[in-house]
């Protein structure tokens, strides 16, 4: 690798000055010497910053959050935002932050879903009680 890394000295352009200082001494010793014991490259990918931690990422509860968004948007919006934060923090190497955001997303989404289900049940009961008419022209969903 170190051999190919240095560009071969270009042939003298004109051919007039064969052995003068125009052709700079090729730099292989400096480049190749360092590359042999290269410690610089490997650490960044496996290190703390920038890389995702090893192991499986936490579930971001995004599907739950989107369902919560449709049930009750004031709680569903923070749920989706927290779900997105899970992946952002995980991919940046913040394992604890990702787990925390996942828990928040789940909490908001669950509350939104429960509220939505309760509202739907009340709604269905009202329809069966005849308070609301069910055959409006549009069916919504």
């Amino acid at each position: 690798m170190s051999d190919y890394g240095s560009t071969p000295p270009p042939p003298p352009p004109g051919g007039g000055s064969g052995n003068d200082g125009g052709s700079t001494p090729p730099p292989p010793p400096s480049g190749g010497g360092y590359d042999g014991g290269s410690y610089g490259a490997p650490p960044p990918p496996s290190g703390g910053y920038g890389g995702a931690p090893a192991g499986p990422p936490p579930s971001n509860n995004l599907v739950l959050a989107i369902l919560g968004l449709l049930c009750c948007w004031p709680l569903g919006i923070p749920a989706v935002v927290f779900a997105a934060q899970v992946n952002g923090k995980w991919n940046a190497g913040d394992q604890a932050g990702a787990v925390e955001a996942a828990a928040k997303a789940k909490k908001f989404a669950t509350i939104a879903l429960v509220l939505g289900i309760i509202a739907t049940l009340i709604y269905v009961v009202l329809i069966f009680a005849g308070v609301l008419s069910s055959d409006t022209s549009t069916t919504g969903m």
């Binding site: 090893a54 990422p57 509202a119 709604y123 269905v124 055959d135 409006t136 969903m141």
Partner: protein
């Protein structure tokens, strides 16, 4: 803990004591639920009034939420009418495609006993969020019914 100490480029196996049948339980439940949803939407036509109650959101606010038209889009898809489905709710159709692809990946992982080792980039999720919110607003713009379910 154990997973983080092992460093491997290949996906790690899930708990080997959990058998394949148990691993495939939730994919099977999801598939059954989706099939039931499509069957109901196919057999009980949402285009006829009275078959389903009006969405509470639509009843209360008079506006369309991002899910509005999903039943009718599903009904159209079950009849093979993609254009009609896109007309009713294009976001729902796109969501179905993503869900089917995700289901395939999930089921394959569960079948092989692998763990998910990657997390989608965060901008994709934020983008999805803004797409949903924009869709919500745009389909309620007065006089512009291009994205409306009607």
């Amino acid at each position: 803990m154990i997973q983080t100490s092992l460093q491997s480029s290949t996906p790690l196996l899930a708990d080997p004591s959990v058998g394949r049948g148990r691993r495939l339980l939730w994919p099977a439940v999801s598939a059954a639920g989706a099939t039931g949803f499509v069957l109901v939407a196919h057999l009980l036509d949402p285009n006829q009034p009275g078959n389903y109650p009006t969405c509470p959101w639509l009843l209360l606010t008079g506006t369309f939420c991002p899910g509005c038209g999903t039943l009718r889009a599903t009904h159209a898809l079950s009849n093979g009418d993609v254009l009609e489905a896109l007309h009713r709710n294009p976001l729902a159709v796109a969501t179905f495609v993503v869900l089917v692809l995700g289901f395939a990946r999930w089921t394959r992982r569960q079948w092989r006993g692998e763990r998910r080792m990657t997390a989608a980039p965060a901008w994709l999720l934020y983008g999805l969020f803004w797409v949903i919110m924009a869709f919500w607003v745009l389909r309620n713009v007065p006089g512009w019914t291009w994205l409306s379910p009607e």
